[in-house]
Symmetry: C2
Subunit: 326 residues, 2 copies
């Protein structure tokens, strides 16, 4: 495991995170700084399915940090079985969104807890504790925000687009419905307003589908604008492609080049960008501090190393800021 930069030791760090790609880095951070980490997770992919409240990104983060995730498949739980789904198909039920037998317990239990009046934040906290996760995992909001993907084929609810249609329709625009009215939870705001905050890390999640919804919550956006700690984003692109998911496809459809410059332009409020060594040539073109490293997280060591890189980069940025101020 890498060593945490000394000046940040014991100071809180916030990570903004979507699903699989982001959760990999969140795991590295959890292993590096444990209880000092707060992960704010996108909930805009949440939806009611089969009468159950499904929170795909929260579950990916919980399972990944809790050591329960299926590394090969990239989502859901390890040692998963699919007998519920097979049986549901036999009854004529909806099978386009696959829920594993083990995973299903989370959705049933969460639905029960929410109906009993528990907040999504408190439920997620209880599950993180149960999984032995040291860091805090916080839904971006307890309020429902829904992505509507405006496509060439018309508007599509997120999971219809993402899972049902495998991201095939051409994206014209994304709408995060109710984002302006959604409130960040007290816990999210407390984490972002902590005066001792050492860094904010924007994980290499899809900027359009996973990070933008978090930023669309006005409380969070405002709190981020006031953060004095360095904000560092990790580009999800490697050589113009995402490791997983439709980031590059969506950028092309929105008429944006799939490169580091575009990612830096998208995250205008950040203090530094981490890009993959494949894209080293982009470093000079980006109008902000850039750190070049390997961002492809294949092994656990890759996750640890990138997490350490993020914090070291944030520390260097903080030093630069301090020098500027002095």
């Amino acid at each position: 495991m890498s060593v945490q930069p000394s000046s940040l030791r014991g100071r809180p760090v916030v990570a903004l995170c979507g699903g699989v790609g982001g959760a990999k880095l969140a795991l590295g951070l959890e292993r590096l700084i444990g209880a000092d980490l707060t992960v704010i997770v996108n909930t805009v992919d949440d939806f009611e399915h089969l009468g159950l409240h499904v929170s795909p990104d929260i579950d990916t983060v919980l399972y990944t940090l809790g050591g329960l995730s299926d590394i090969e498949r990239g989502w859901g739980r390890a040692d998963e079985t699919w007998n519920f789904m097979e049986s549901l198909g036999g009854l004529g039920g909806e099978t386009w969104f696959r829920l594993g037998d083990r995973d299903l317990a989370m959705h049933v239990e969460r639905t029960r807890a929410l109906r009993a009046g528990m907040s999504l934040t408190d439920f997620t906290t209880a599950m993180a504790r149960r999984f032995g996760i040291a860091s805090r995992i916080l839904p971006m909001s307890n309020d429902r925000v829904e992505t509507m993907v405006m496509t060439a084929d018309g508007p599509l609810p997120f999971q219809r687009y993402f899972v049902g249609l495998q991201c095939a329709p051409v994206v014209k625009r994304l709408e995060f419905r109710n984002a302006e009215h959604a409130a960040a939870s007290d816990q999210v705001l407390a984490a972002l307003k902590n005066p001792n905050l050492a860094a904010v890390i924007i994980c290499p999640s899809n900027p359009y589908l996973s990070v933008d919804p978090i930023l669309a919550v006005s409380d969070i956006r405002t709190a981020l604008e006031r953060v004095t700690a360095p904000i560092v984003a990790i580009s999800p692109l490697i050589g113009g492609q995402a490791v997983k998911g439709p980031t590059a496809k969506i950028m092309a459809e929105l008429g944006v080049p799939a490169d580091s410059v575009a990612i830096a332009g998208h995250y205008r409020f950040i203090d530094g960008l981490i890009i993959d060594e494949t894209d080293r040539a982009d470093a000079g073109k980006v109008d902000m501090p850039v750190h070049v490293t390997s961002t492809w997280m294949r092994s656990l060591e890759d996750r640890d190393r990138l997490a350490a890189d993020c914090l070291e980069f944030a520390e260097r940025l903080a030093t630069v800021e301090r020098r500027k101020v002095t």
Copy 2:
């Protein structure tokens, strides 16, 4: 397969049925007379669990007649797995009532259908059709009726008593809450009021826990009183014990001898009682026509043979009635 008595051929038969024991005979009847059979099933064990509408007896009948049941375990589906339950335990959820991964699909789909406004009757009919079941399987009512078991330890909801406490508390009385207000469905009443009805069979289910609740629905009770076809009950007791379940224990607790005379006394409105050959000595003590046969259904052939016996006995009773009238 046994041969259906000729005078009943093509005429409708109604069976009243609880869970496992009753479903065995219902399977024999389904195999014998198929589409001529209507099974009216107890729903008083239904309950909301983990936010899902669970209908234990309906599912036992559906799975049994659909060839999907676990013969060994006696409830639930064959080839069942328990990963949902194991995972739920890991999340701190309630695990005292076990739901298999395959079985769970039924509860999720039914809950979804009921919330969408479908009746329990229509949902059950759709599932029976999907499972290729020829006979009609009808919940006794679309309205909720709940058993409250009044025990020496206080009142207990049915599943707490039956599954949670394994029937250990001493039963003092049974209450079927809302039974007076529950309406039999149109389909149930149509089946019982069919002027061509050949017989009503009361399956060897628990008289107190499974059959009484059906009889407690006043529409059904009234319709049964007006039925002119023979009503035949099969005693669930063999040598003073039920093959499965707490029938004898409850009878002892209620101060009733666990024998054929007590069963006949309990079902005062029936025209004939079928008892096991073990209890042949009881035949003379029962104040109604008795047919003695083997009622223990171990093999599929046993189910077929007992089903044929029931119909033959009903036919004989009808002939006697006709002679009396003539």
